[in-house]
Amino acid sequence: MMLQSAAREVRKFLLCRSNADKAVYFSNILILVFILNLLCGCTPQRTATETSAPGHISQAMHNGRSIWVSVEPPLPEAFSDSPGAVAAQFSKWMLPQAGEVLSGSGLATAAQSLTAARQNGSDYLLMITLHKWKSPGLSGIAHEASLSVMVMDVSTEQIIIQSDLNATCYLMAVVSGMSTRDCIYPEVEKWKRYAFESENTSIKKRINTEGN
């Protein structure tokens, strides 16, 4: 309906003769664009997303335990976020299932992260490898995030979870406060349902079978 109205205004603008009329119709179009932008800003900003399978989960993480979160090198091309900030953001997302979450301030190899996790008494080590982390710009119009999550039991050094998370979010509004982190967040929430222990173990079993 809004688009029809906009098209009508454009047609009137093209047909009208005097400059004064043109000015009036031009201002009407501007108002319509303004209203459209407002409406778009109110609509959900994730219009297209891609969800990956939870991957291989051999053992879910126990609730209430301590997790060390780190970002592993290499960083993807055109990565403009900070690895420490991404790790900190993931730390927060692990709550409330995790009892406590700590994160490294920069990039760390698996060996460095394992040492830090041990030193700080963490039960699990959650390592993130970023494959794609793009904001809209000249190269694209969407937020794109693609990453691997690996969880290791610190005491046994066994990898218990290996998953890939992907998300693509197209922006509806010209002015938007969405970030690439906001784009991947719902996928992390979905992943958490399988990664942490819960009463619904049957779902996990099914997912494990699919993952294998």
Binding site: F34, N37, L38, G41, S66, A78, S80, D81, S82, G84, A85, A88, Q89, S91, K92, L95, E100, V101, L102, S103, S105, G106, Q119, N120, S135, G137, A173, V175, S176, G177, S179, T180
Partner: protein, 183 residues
């Protein structure tokens, strides 16, 4: 003529209010990521790091690190917390060495997680700041406490067009964190 006087007076009052109350409604949220009930930080002194400038989406928020440290410094001084401040952002091992050399009890590490400073927009989006504060043992490098300190704020009428940044709401957030953790 009289109505013009009233209108001018009204504009003056609005301007005055905008200048006096730079910060509009502010929300603060503190999330404990690790807390140690047995650890008392009351009366302790700190070596405070300077966070690196926040970068995201291809742009760097210039001086956001320095501004964050300055706001934290103001909040600590207001609450009579003794501290030494780093003069530049350093990596963790360098910061720990500096902290140990400073002779302070603990290192207070600040890391900017989010710094949203949007221009005045049609959607009236709030400014948002989030800083991860960690208390570390400088000798071992172990993290003793870690909290996410987050704030959102909007400008007042006069400061509506851009004279507002996340640092304006982080002051309240740091004040609350100090009250909860260091007192």
């Amino acid at each position: 003529m009289k109505s013009i006087h009233w209108a001018l007076l009204l504009i003056f009052v609005v301007c005055l209010q905008g200048c006096a109350v730079r910060t509009g409604p502010t929300k603060v949220k503190i999330t404990a990521l690790k807390s140690d009930a047995g650890l008392s930080l009351r009366g302790k002194s700190f070596f405070v790091t300077m966070p690196a400038d926040y970068s995201a989406g291809g742009s760097i928020e210039k001086d956001s690190g320095l501004q964050t440290q300055q706001v934290l410094q103001k909040a600590l001084q207001k609450n009579m917390v003794e501290a030494t401040y780093a003069d530049a952002p350093r990596d963790m091992s360098e910061a720990l060495a500096q902290s140990a050399a400073s002779g302070r009890d603990y290192m207070l590490d600040a890391r900017i997680v989010e710094w949203r400073d949007p221009p005045a927009s049609f959607q009236l989006e709030s400014d948002k700041g989030e800083v991860l504060l960690a208390v570390l043992d400088a000798k071992t490098g172990n993290i003793l406490e870690q909290d996410s300190v987050q704030c959102t704020g909007v400008a007042t009428t006069v400061n509506f067009v851009g004279f507002y940044s996340p640092k304006d709401c982080l002051g309240n957030a740091f004040g609350q964190w100090i009250n909860e953790r260091l007192k």
